[in-house]
Amino acid sequence: MAEDLPQLLDSLVRRRLGGGGAGGVARVSAGATQEIWRFHMLKDDAEIPLILRRAPGGGFRVSPTAVGLEVEAQLIVAAATVGVPVPPVRCVLEPEDGLGHGFVMGFVEGETLGGRIARGESLAETRKFLARQCGEVLARLHTLDPADFPTLRRTTPAEQLAQYEEIYRAGAWPRPVFELAFRWLAERCPPPPEHPRLVHGDFRNGNLMIGPEGVRAVLDWEIAHVADPMEDLGWICVGSWRFGVDALPVGGFGLREDLWAGYEAAGGPPVRREHALWWETFGSLRWGVMCAGMAAAFRTVDPNIERAVIARRASETEIDLMRLIAA
């Protein structure tokens, strides 16, 4: 069935947002699990830029680990109430909108390219305080009440380790470095968190919209879950997100100590350093297992050359793991 997206968006903004029409519809990215479209709404002689985030084809397919687009919208709305910078959600799609699952949000201007955030001249001053600010943002994010999100996945460190070991074993390709990392992590596994928090799950350089004043928006809430809050503090330090600046573990722009200090100063629970480092190590292994899994996907469901190249990025996590556990 052919879909007339411009027409559907035009109708949407008239009925739901009080606009006088829509235009400038353009695809922004072709994600595997989600589509992102940019368009503008006509209102009072102005063109207001908006973003549509929805399930592919306007259909109802959602990846098994994703929280679902309605919950994602709910998370973003809740995050705004505790002072986490996010794009404003303008409306959540209803079945009668004919656009599938998804939501419309305001367009936020800023930099999301990791290399420019880690190395760009225009953000040199920003990098001096960005790690600390990321800690402050995470402390506020972790005040969200998990009870408001009953459908989110609840996990312990041991469960996540077991989950990724299962995925690795299913790949049936020997990786002695991963084996060593699984042992190392199992021997040091943090206990189930006493006070599980709502964690973002993919809070890293690449998913943050940055301006000169710092974080303008935290993006990509699709794998949020309820877990040990130290998980978010470890993931942003994973080597793969340093964009050429290896000496600055926090996204290639800051130090762990600044991230942790900002987190505690903004009211986050005391940082368990060894747990944060455990999550950083687990993060490298988790990203490595995800990359390695691309080889099978490349051979079966999606022969896209990009998948082949990502599969060969598994070795970058092996060198990061060696540096973390066998330096």
Binding site: P176, V309, S315, I319
Partner: protein, 142 residues
């Protein structure tokens, strides 16, 4: 005997054409994908020229005390680590894994910052020169 030019020379020329001629004359997602293709060809070329496999196999034979092909030996080492029979304290293990991992990165991604930092920290090793034309990194963090 096949005639010249050799496959690695052909791959190099195709990658250069994609990067220097095709990519600049396209835009958006196509241009990005063309550079990803050039990266993939350059990685394949490095693997064709790579000679670490036999060295790695010899190290594994010495470490494990059994013979076999590379896949079998790596599967056996993986099994022993998972079972706790071989650990970080086992003589030769860490040195082997470092050598094997550095050799993988020299093919997969010689410009990876973690690899360059690891080489700089291990001045006992001969750092190979960085090769490949750079360009977009694929996937998260890319």
């Amino acid at each position: 005997m096949q005639d010249e030019p050799r496959p690695e020379e052909i791959l190099e020329a195709v990658a250069r054409y994609l990067r220097e001629t095709v990519a600049p004359s396209t835009s958006g997602h196509i241009s990005f994908n063309v550079r990803v293709c050039a990266n993939a060809l350059e990685m394949s070329r490095r693997q064709l020229l790579d000679s670490h496999a036999e060295i790695e196999r010899a190290r594994l034979v010495a470490l494990l005390g059994v013979d076999g092909d590379l896949a079998t030996l790596n599967a056996e080492l993986s099994r022993r680590i998972a079972a706790g029979e071989t650990t970080l304290e086992t003589p030769g293990l860490v040195a082997h894994l470092w050598a094997a991992t550095l050799a993988k990165l020299a093919v997969d991604q010689p410009t990876y910052w973690g690899y360059r930092a690891a080489l700089a920290a291990r001045d006992d090793l001969d750092p190979p020169p960085p090769s490949g034309g750079g360009g977009p990194r694929s996937g998260g963090g890319g």
